[in-house]
Symmetry: C3
Subunit: 259 residues, 3 copies
């Protein structure tokens, strides 16, 4: 079954919806990518907020439009706060998204991510190794890097999506976004995106924002992936390396509504 | 009562004092803005240091020239360390500044900020919703975003400043800096500053540095706001979006002494 | 005894080894420099991963190629996790590097760093005040800034290196890298590097990566210092201030393999 190619019109629609609705995304994410994640959300027209303590996170998760759970620098305290925030978001009918950074290789996060799957994520965004590990198919990558291609992980992604009635975005040189029966492929981007920390983590935040939009969630998440791919390609073409890439990428995201 | 306009000569004076005295600012701030806050302080000529554990923060607060308390990603452990640092700074006669991020909407930080008010901040810097919430007038904004204008919050800011014998900077499209009887308005800047995370939080750190300077504190804090507004205007004019804005803003701050 | 000048050919060799081996560096570092540290490692061709909880850090330290311990925003929980990670890295035969940020001035980190010295670091990277404090010769600098020159700290660095059978890199306007008997001096760079937060902390991560390379560790660490100095000089020449410096520096590191 061939994936569908992302419809170009979807990019303009997703971009328009971000700007007209400015979804407020509650980000519980890792220490390394906080600033970049916030700036990416602001650039696409969404609104970020980081609230992390167990005394506040459940309260905020019910107020925000979507919740991101990224286990990149997990601690036991954050795990407990994340679990409480997921419960609160679910109770309030708000979508939450899982980014299972480096799942498989490390015990604490692997057990936590597996336990979270039962709580109904609106979407899961990971690289090939992470998605395969989450589906029980491999032992994880090398640190945060994948050792597999997204295409190799597509069967696992489809099965995971179907089993959990969720959306799985497995990202790499080509991104695949699937709900099980349907799959959309998203090409573009640049290898330079792998030399900048946080492009995947920030995409997960944009996926969370997309899950708060009205309409077909598979299309909205695909549009989110497409916006990041397109901005990555524009920025890479305009940059001498990963340093110049970051400002060029944020500017490209910011200007995409006009594209 | 009309606010006074910021005197342009104050910018040069504040900038000169930052560079000649390099105030060491102990920043206890949120996870999202640490790097940007440090780089902004370095660019204006001050010196940042982040020390966060309750075993070290009080020790360092007595050594530094000023202390910043920003409750953006508050945890219970940080709250306790912040409280101890405030006590230590106060005992050592060092000024401390409060940035009450998203106060009003969330219980832990709201209770903590209210309790801190009794401990004599040298200045408070917040957006309109935060200042109004702190003064007991509204329930807070939407996440970290304000839903009010700075002008609408000016009466609350004046009353808060007078009641606490402090300086309140309520910032927005126009900033107002007040000690109750006197108010200075600071225009300039750019809407692009709201599409970059941390411009307000970094301003609070610069306000803390300003509180360590000799002379009229109201004028020094106004000068700090003015330096940020001017650099923001310069950077926005030179940028295609929020990505290019960040380096241009730091460069403009760095070059302001010559302006 | 005159230090040797860094051999220019070492830069190309170190750069080549980073790119051909992509050492995976487990960074346990401070909150302020996480993003910049990761991006610097990616730019030189290494691979960063931040894993911080005591439940995961020892597990990951055994998998990674090198471990960085930076005490910049130390907490008691992180100290315990760092200690466990150092033990695990040592048991697995993996090198670990100490960056003793602001040691001397603050009790918790001073006691911790002194205790760590007995556990056999592969290298120590600090500014003059930090290295002198670690050697028991002074009370530390002003916050994170040094109040001494690297040359003044060279005798302390040599003694520390000889006593611990380690490499000490004391960095400043000129860097000195010593194992006791041998010392290499590394010139270059720019004063602008002191107006950007994290250049020293990121260097420590690159030093950790260098300790995972085959060959003479003193030469590899010197090469790491030289790569950062050269990129700093290139970036400063191309920048109007510290804002533009950051992207230019990362781009220069990324392009250095061709230099």
């Amino acid at each position: 079954m061939q994936p569908d190619l992302l419809n170009h019109a979807q990019l303009a629609q997703t971009s328009h919806l971000f700007r007209s609705r400015t979804p407020l995304v509650h980000c519980m994410t890792n220490d390394v990518v906080q600033t970049f994640t916030a700036n990416v959300l602001l650039a696409v027209g969404a609104s970020p907020a980081m609230v992390i303590d167990i005394a506040e996170a459940p309260q905020f998760a019910a107020l925000a439009d979507a919740l991101l759970i990224n286990v990149g620098t997990l601690t036991e305290a954050r795990r407990d706060a994340m679990r409480a925030a997921v419960e609160s978001a679910s109770a309030a009918g708000k979508p939450w998204v899982l980014d299972p950074v480096a799942v498989g290789a490390l015990t604490l996060r692997s057990e936590f991510c597996q336990a979270l799957l039962a709580r109904g994520p609106a979407a899961i965004r990971g690289n090939a190794s992470e998605i395969m590990a989450l589906a029980g198919e491999s032992g994880g990558g090398r640190g945060v890097d994948t050792t597999d291609t997204a295409a190799a992980a597509l069967p696992a992604a489809r099965r995971l999506a179907a089993d959990l009635a969720t959306i799985v975005a497995v990202t790499g040189e080509v991104d695949y976004v699937t709900d099980g029966p349907r799959t959309v492929s998203v090409a573009g981007g640049s290898p330079l995106m792998t030399r900048v920390v946080g492009t995947g983590c920030a995409l997960s935040a944009v996926v969370a924002a997309a899950c708060a939009l009205p309409g077909d969630r598979l299309q909205n998440v695909s549009g989110a992936c497409g916006l990041m791919k397109r901005a990555g390609g524009i920025a890479a073409a305009a940059s001498a390396g990963p340093g110049g890439f970051v400002p060029a990428f944020l500017d490209a995201l910011y200007q995409e509504v006009d594209a």
